[in-house]
């Protein structure tokens, strides 16, 4: 459970993510989707309940355990969250140079890894560009390339298609599926975009008022006889 200023943002949410699965959290703005994700990576702490990530209770981890868990998670923020003062290359090398495993590699190897990840998201020419030179869609792809640097087992996508035109949204949806195939990751995708949920989700959880009101595949959820759920599909 999580409360802000007396209002319950998350109330009794409980779910599991299976290996290799793309789980979509669908809900309108303000239903607590991002709060759940921030609790999973301990950017926030729930008021009650527990969260187990890779078998460990993330609320009671020591600093080095938390760092180890976080190094196995990639997080794509809504606007990409690229570091403004660094080039795209430096953005990608930043987490790698500070990771205990990767920083022992020669700089050339890290550079090659950055190039490979940028190529996998279709930004092979963006290495020396600054974030301000990229479009919204390109920033998200660069952010995704950065989150891949530590070879994560789980990727969290926070509203991956919000603010993008339909064509770029399709490209991002396809990219999410390609990344799963290439890197063998599991994913949690937060979205209120029905198309994104349909293309990327193996399983959907529909949130409303901080509670899960529906669960199942896209087809199953779409056919549910639930007024609140049908509101999403009748957009």
């Amino acid at each position: 459970m999580k409360t802000f200023e007396g209002k319950k943002v998350i109330d009794g949410v409980s779910f599991s993510l299976f290996e290799g699965e793309n789980l979509v959290l669908l809900g309108k703005s303000g239903t607590g989707k991002s709060v759940i994700m921030k609790c999973i990576v301990r950017l926030m702490e729930p008021d009650s309940g527990s969260i187990e990530v890779f078998g460990k209770d993330i609320g009671h981890c020591r600093d080095h355990e938390l760092a180890e868990i976080r190094s196995r998670i990639g997080y794509l923020f809504q606007e990409g969250a690229l570091y403004d003062s660094m080039s795209i290359k430096e953005n990608l090398l930043f987490p790698a140079r500070r990771n205990n495993g990767l920083r022992k590699l020669p700089e050339k190897k890290l550079y090659e890894l950055a190039e490979k990840n940028l190529t996998s998201v279709g930004l092979e020419d963006a290495m020396d560009k600054m974030p301000s030179e990229l479009s919204g869609g390109m920033k998200k792809r660069a952010g995704l390339a950065r989150s891949l640097m530590l070879s994560p087992e789980l990727i969290i996508y926070d509203e991956p298609t919000t603010g993008l035109d339909p064509f770029t949204s399709v490209a991002i949806n396809n990219l999410i599926m390609q990344i799963r195939a290439l890197y063998n990751t599991s994913a949690i995708i937060i979205t209120h975009d029905i198309k994104c949920a349909e293309v990327t989700g193996d399983r959907l959880l529909v949130l409303n008022n901080g509670k899960i009101i529906a669960e199942g595949s896209f087809a199953e959820v779409k056919e549910m006889n639930n007024e609140e759920v049908q509101l999403f599909f009748n957009q």
Partner: protein, 256 residues
Amino acid sequence: MKSLLLQDIQHFFLDVAGVTRFTGLFFRNLFKGRFEFREFINQCYRAGYQSLLLITVTAIILGLVLTIQIHPILLDLGADILLPNIVFISVVTELGPVIIALLFAGKVGSGIGAELSSMRVTDQIDAMEVSATNPIKFLVVTRVLATTLTLPLLVIYGNLMAYLGSYAGLSAYGNISFQLFYNRAFDRFYFSDLLPATIKTVFFGFFIGIICCYMGYYSDKGTEGVGRSANAAVVASSLVIFLLDLITVQITDLIR
């Protein structure tokens, strides 16, 4: 009206508590993990080297104006030979450290507050934390150490520029050799005058760094939050400069 005032007082004490906790966080992270040396040098360059022009111009004008203002008064009193000494002691012990620290808070402090605030509202700090990088170590420790180190050096440099500005001002009234000006400036100037002035600039630099980092790091969301953080950073650190100056003067007076 009364409740607004109470709210402001409450915010003030919350901020004081917040800065105190933040200072503890700084020291806890200072020796933890690898030191971000490259970022520290980058911050020293931005705080120090990029402030040189502003400090140079301001300090020369300070020395010049002080000389021009004081000269007629001392001339009337027949004490104009004391001018180099008076200007030098005034600048080194008080005017130089305080004015340069205020300029530093305005230029560097507001930049730090705005930068960290902007990083907060665009999730860059969260991104750093989630990628298992310690944002306090990378963003705060480097900046606070940079301001603590560079401000005393800028003050020493500024004092020198003010001294040259004073010489230029005095030269306009008549021929005075640099050797004579130098001897008169250092007459009755002791190391015990220099030491407290230098030590207080270390504290000025430290608190400018801590307060501006705090304001930016815990900024409110939105563009309004960025502006408020930058503004609050300058105002708070300027007030603290004067408070620290008052405390230092009392301590120095007691020791004498």
